[in-house]
Symmetry: C3
Subunit: 137 residues, 3 copies
């Protein structure tokens, strides 16, 4: 059994930004030596997330418009009484998800034709980490 | 350590359809020989998902009405400028989820009384796959 | 390879209640003896969930207000023709999530500074279980 851990760092220029990380995760999978198993890719901050969906700029824009509609910024959230202004980012991350677990088969991410892993930042401008944990044999 | 992989295929007649797959997953778990571990059940396409919830036709209809309200089809999504017409399917799958990780104890899915695994199709009429990866001992 | 299983029980006084369970999960991780691996924390009932987010009462209230807006109780859901009155709880749990998979490194939950695990109850007043499955070495 092999367990291999690595971390990715992000510091986005925009408050909200979705960044494709499939290649970085694939490289960590390769470095782990795991041929058959799974990889956990998980945001370590609670105003960001990780999801799998399409690598298409129009759809990425659609996601952002949609999330703003479902979980608007600028409302009078109780969380803001602490001095924070990012309650919407906590809500948006619940829609998009904190983590994904992806399969590894024959040493590679066992993905369908359009699956891409994304880091979803909902409250950027600061250092944030994503954990990558490979388990298998 | 045992790692066992299998795939389920779907080609739904309706654009949106939720299909119970608990029995197929349980059969793969049994075939794996894993007595204690987990099973990842994951859509390999980005307009479908996998979720655990109730096997009750009324609720399944409620989910579909609700998803259409939260992520309507037919809007002027940017994704449609590529020629696609299924942006809503990408959004709906984020709500319902891409994958589930289920526990295996004593050789069986370690489920509560009402847990059932479903394949959620949001843009059907074509061949799609779900990956099942069993890990344990 | 170590696989270790435990369960947490809940019986909330309120219909909807979010309960921090990080310490209980950390204790199970410690008891498992796993130094490097993952832990699955999963609701075993379909009107409750498990999620990771902020331990801040204002935000917890914001989540509850927001979920009521996205998935209102008291609507004429088809599920209620079975005699149930909790369709909204099934919907709310899809937003918040059924399970989380958390990393274990050096014998501890490998968490960012603000990550906390919560049990999310959407239809309380009865005994419910959460499964905790630790896998690693």
């Amino acid at each position: 059994m092999i367990v291999h851990t690595d971390y990715l760092w992000f510091n986005t220029k925009k408050r909200q930004e979705f960044i494709r990380v499939t290649d970085q995760v694939a490289a960590i999978v390769k470095a782990s030596g795991v041929a058959d198993g799974t990889v956990l890719v998980s945001a370590m901050h609670i105003t960001s997330g990780v999801y799998v969906n399409d690598w298409e700029e129009g759809l990425i824009n659609d996601f952002q418009v949609w999330l703003e509609k479902l979980a608007p910024s600028g409302l009078d959230y109780q969380h803001h009484r602490t001095g924070e202004d990012n309650a919407d980012a906590h809500l948006k991350r619940q829609i998009m998800g904190r983590e994904v677990v992806c399969a590894i088969t024959k040493g590679r991410l066992d993905f369908g034709p359009w699956e891409q892993i994304f880091y979803g930042e909902f409250d950027g401008h600061r250092n944030k980490r994503v954990l990558v944990k490979v388990i298998g044999e």
